[in-house]
Amino acid sequence: MSTAVAPPLPRSQRLRRGLTDRPVIVLGVVFVVFYLVTALLDPSLFTMRGLRSILLLACPLAIFAAGQTLAFLTGGIDLSVTMTANVAAYVAATQSGAGPVQALALALVVGAAAGLVNGVGIGIFRVHPLIMTIGMSSVLLGLVSVGLSSGGFLSGPTVVPAVLETVGGGTLVGPVPLNAVVWAVVSVVLVLGLARTGLGRNIYGVGDNPLACRLSGVKVWQVLIATYVIVGVLAAIAGLLISGSSGSVGPSQTNSFLLPSIAAAVIGGTSILGGAGGYGGTIVGALVLTVLNRLLLTLGVGQAVQQLVYGAIVLALAWVYVAVSGQRSD
């Protein structure tokens, strides 16, 4: 029981420590700088419309990344989120004849079911999350392909429910799109849920030390299943919003969100090894990536340079984060 108390730190170090404990602040600063730089090149970002487009486009990414954040916290990852989203959107669009409530409910059930299967595989059968969700992704793709072939369960007219088109692309007030309402609800539920509920605690615990959880009476498989079901539902919500804003469904329409969803969670400081992080950082991460996309589009460079810059910036941001927060992984 040491009683050694460090002497008061000099100011510079105090500042540093403040940042170390709240790396989201650094990320927030990065976001603001990014936004301003982009806005200098593309002044439309200073307009309501420009701001609105950033929020509108960040929302589905942030919801995908919310699922990814949860999976990360348990020490896992979910590579099937985008396929789950595709299937859910398809289901909603093919069932829209039965009324929007039923169509949306069914879509969410599909998301939950995909998550359930992932959770059972990962929690009970101990399949590595990477493999389980890659496999799941391929199973879902197969299912869609079978369903889409003539006479299949997904063939027939597809109509994106009108509610979705409104929520996915409409405006609440000023620069705030309607889908931001969904995002806000998800954020509140997640931030509070992780910090203030037993399940939230267990999600962190399982990611930090599953053995300790078992010995404390936590049934790890239950936590994992619950987590992946939530991830599946979040993926379905994201898929529905995307189909609403683009007015389309397609068997691979959200696939380009997969790697960015992982990147957003990583940039947001959630440890891919589990047990540390949270949704707050992910929100900023999603915003940063959306502005980055905007920046690359504004610069008008070719695809090759876009890819290079995207990779380099994601790397640099993650590096800054680790350097500032001192959360080295080794």
Binding site: S149, L259, L315, A323
Partner: protein
Amino acid sequence: MILVRYLQVENFGGFELRALTAGSLMLALLAMAQGVVVLSGGINLAVGALMVLANCFSAWLMEDASLGTSVLVAVLTVAGTALLSGLMGWIVTVSGMPDIVVTLALHFAFVGLALLILGGPGGRANPQLSQLIVGGFSNPWPALLWLTGIYCLIWIPFRRSRAGIATYAIGSDRQAAFLAGIVVKRARVHAYVVSGVFAGLAGLVTTALLGSGSPQESIALGALLGSVAAVVLGGVALSGGRGQLLGPVLAAFVLTLIPAILLSLGVNPNVAVLLEGLIIIGVVMLGGLLELRRRKL
């Protein structure tokens, strides 16, 4: 499984064998590229991108080159990917970022680089070199010999060397390895360098097999997923330190065979995609069940 395929195809011969060996060679090399990093306790999400990069780079330089020059290009390519991969490993160790993050970000960057080198599909392989690497259409032997050669002349000596043991050691218990005096950072970089060598070779094989370069992200992603699946099916623990690379190599053969066999069984190809996913999950679940008997949570 080769047997099943043998029974399925009426005149199974050099052509089918070559389709199998040459087709598997690339995946087998990728599996090794992934495997060595996994053994060291990491993961390399950029193997596919490195392969694409090597493919484009070599096809770009080999266009209209003589055999001698092409061989030089091949060596240069492998050295290049080894260097890039080593650089990636260096960033992982210096930055303290999780390797998933670093390699994922560089996956994007490497594909961008490939696209920069070769604006689109293009370039050309040296036909003689192709012949040497993957053989003619009914000649299964060169591919098989290369695979055996690479395994025996690169992997086995590496595994036996101190650097190889260190790779296993850092994958097994990094803290203990450090206390035992291993320079963990250096050992990690070594693993990435070896991984880069294998990924570069896989890129060369692609060039030889397909005759040109193709800088597409989807190819890199597909290759990456294949490499992870092969490593896991091959019995290498994703937690590191345990397993041999022979498993992933054999798994590469199996993964190449599954679609062909399913098709010949008359399975609807759409259902085949589904079954492939189920088979991968199933095999791994079985492994999980066996593990479950040992220790449960």
